[in-house]
Chain length 277, copies 4
């Protein structure tokens, strides 16, 4: 009757400073831990014998970072997953979700300061590790990259029915907040440079593409990643269409030469796809 | 290579006033529409021939509400699903997500006013309809019910390892923001009274339960719904543990008689389960 | 050169359970403390000699609640203000901002449960105490009451210029999120019943008013409070106009009988005024 | 009895694309307009004769941008203020608040792309123009710069009372979200380069400072701006102390060499000051 269950801890906020004589590094992470396993007795009978407290999951994140500095979030996720599987016999699958918030160095006296930082925007680097006793999978991602095309974006030739009022356009403003997640073939991968390679490949494909819709550049971006980055087995992209509508200036005897737009929050389109090698 | 895709519209905000001589009713909805189907050409070739614009999805929500007033969100979702399937041959599965924000009447001169309303809190009523050409499923839900137990809530007897520091307690403050979703067996159900029955059953079970954890009342609440409401085939509950920590007053020579708590936002536990008949 | 300065603590989250044999009460508060005074040396020289840590401000909120239970937020604010003024000779003015989040009892077996609660919506009750060594002022308020009028709301006869496109209407949907703050003449007032009296008077005036704009009911609501509640010296109301726009159904050959609206978030109007006795 | 009133429009979202043959520029603004003046009759009598609709304020923002491209937000604010004062005889003071969200060019094939952009973080550039028929003031600002010092930040030697438990430290992690606003002496200023000069001066002072508190670098940053930038008459800085607390590893027999921190959201300190020439 209890057909699925899981429990864990969300939003564990860890900041680690890696101290060197003249330059510190900062790792700013948000971590979530989820346990799936044979914990039915805690639900049905209130028997907590095998339940590791979620407070312990949180402590473990800090303790493991203290014992070996976080290098990349993918490796740290794998280390956490292994730790929990080894110590919890009822645990059948553990999932670790990680997000990293990047900090840039502040320019000071013509060069980068060693200890002062400026947070780099809303964009986050993400990773997810899912592991059972036989295997583990690693995925990486980039969340909330706001990107915009001011030219070479169209939407025309679409289906119309009795409720269609949208005008066709060969030249619209395309704005989206890209979230992408990709699966790695194996763990013998250089996670850091690969992440940057995938991110830059997506941005490059977006910039250089002549887009007939949101679907069209989304596919081109995914395709470009599979072509360029060997270690990626599949990639999922989600691109909300943050509509920027031309403002109707004709009511004031003015012309809108595709320059004046109303940025809107809702409603928004939502386009998603997965490409697999 | 394109192994999954979908597109649609999110956050369509519809308010419908049902006008009667002396009393209006207000329906305040947020609707999302998602299409899954044979739309690969739009991704791979920028061919939009079969792509119904998401702007049309939005228009359709308003147009269908105008032609027949929204009674309950479940029926409205079914109507929208049917409409889209009939008109779009490439569409294989349509999903309609709906949330309703309730408005109470303002008391005025000793009775409820006919035209003036006060929004009823953060809690929302939800529904989801998923349909293909053969069948459709309807689920309903309640989101963001903040509930609290000031007594009869414990957490003890749990597993300890080297990173466990949590103290056992027979008497803690339990605060959660319940989100529940349940599947109906069929559509021949009185959606409105059933929704209220499920919601009250969950609250009742929560209030009357002696809880050994978060898992324990979660299961009791799901069990109570399956016992009491025949039309429900299965129910999923998600209960984040919004930790309220006793404030350490001993440092000031004061005693905390389980009365003074620090409410925290993060990190939080997250407990989830599905019960099926 | 340092012409103004202040420091303090924001978002101190205190939950107090008032325990009685068969019925608990819950006080759920967010408190902020601000110090203005002779703290220039901490800014200019890094001299912290007279700086009470903001961490101590936080501790004090919990410690004072522990020593005497919070009854109403106005009295608790006065108590905190007095405490800080007595102990900090550099402090010239202290400001305490308080917000209370109300919890309703859950109905259980035909009556209200003694220990189980359901959070009452997004609306909060607020208070602000500002005190120096000679005097203190107390204000109270209600924040984020979402209210709606489905009839008896117009906007017509307004000024037009070359950029005015808005149509006149005798019958529009008026939706606002009321935030009101009122000053009390003195502290010899029953804070709890007075707060409920002011809130109900505003809702009553809103419901019963024939509105020509947002300004118009705002004034009527303020006027009603000054007329009905003797202890109030002045009242400020802020009413954003959360525009609900009629959806244009004529494009589909349908009529909008003032029933189908698009709820929007931005842009929004913002109307504010203060009425003084 | 109506002792203060204002009305206006908030969150007007304007995106302007400045098109050139091979490189577009993007201006992404959020604008608010507020009118103070002789509008009492609209409040007391529902007489809208002199009330310019807030919808017209919104239209005007788009129309004026269309007639002369937005260069910097300060000039655009001045232009809007002048426009409204000229056309509205009841208007005594108009306030224009502007926020700009910056977009960076996407790197493509080794150089910056002409039409594709990536949103630059959460930081915004702000401006405020306040004008009556005799004079106008212009202020500029930077909001939500998250900055961090990993070294050279202390908090010690502070006042203690019976509720003080905070430990002294010579070496803590200092994290704040800086919001600064500065007044210009006059309008004959190069707004763009001055804004960048002020921002860089603040970051530079923050990075190079040995901090004894949050107050201490705040003052140093304001002082540095007044010293370096002649056109600034005064500057206000607000710096919340986003506490990053050392995690207690000693419970696991581990040492925290000032490397492992818990990032917290609430409660937080709030430090503010204004420096005037």
């Amino acid at each position: 009757m209890l057909t699925q269950s899981s429990y864990g801890k969300e939003r564990i906020r860890l900041v680690q400073v890696l101290r060197r004589p003249d330059r510190d590094d900062v790792r700013d992470l948000t971590v979530a831990v989820r346990f799936d396993g044979d914990y039915d007795a805690s639900y049905t009978d209130g028997d907590n014998t095998d339940v590791l407290p979620t407070d312990t999951m949180r402590n473990t994140v800090y303790a493991l970072a203290a014992q070996e500095a976080v290098r990349d979030i993918e490796s740290f996720g794998l280390r956490l997953a292994r730790h929990f599987l080894e110590r919890n016999r009822c645990l059948t699958r553990v999932t670790i979700d990680l997000a990293e918030h990047h900090w840039d160095r502040i320019a000071h006296g013509g060069r980068e300061h060693g200890h002062a930082f400026l947070r780099h925007g809303a964009e986050t680097r993400t990773a997810a590790v899912s592991a059972d006793r036989d295997a583990s999978t690693v995925s990486a991602g980039a969340a909330d990259l706001m990107i915009l095309k001011a030219a070479e974006s169209a939407f025309a030739g679409f289906r119309r029915d009795e409720y269609t009022t949208l005008a066709e356009t060969r030249d619209r403003l395309l704005v989206t907040s890209l979230t992408a997640t990709w699966q790695y073939r194996d763990h013998a991968i250089a996670f850091d440079p690969t992440w940057h390679h995938v991110r830059q490949t997506m941005l490059d494909a977006f910039a250089g593409h002549r887009s007939e819709s949101v679907q069209h550049p989304l596919h081109a971006m995914g395709q470009a990643v599979l072509d360029a980055v060997d270690g990626v087995a599949s990639i999922s992209l989600v691109m909300p269409n943050r509509h920027h509508l031309p403002f109707d200036l004709s009511r004031f005897g003015l012309e809108n030469r595709n320059e004046i737009f109303v940025a809107t929050e809702e409603p928004h389109g939502l386009i998603a796809a997965t490409l697999t090698r």
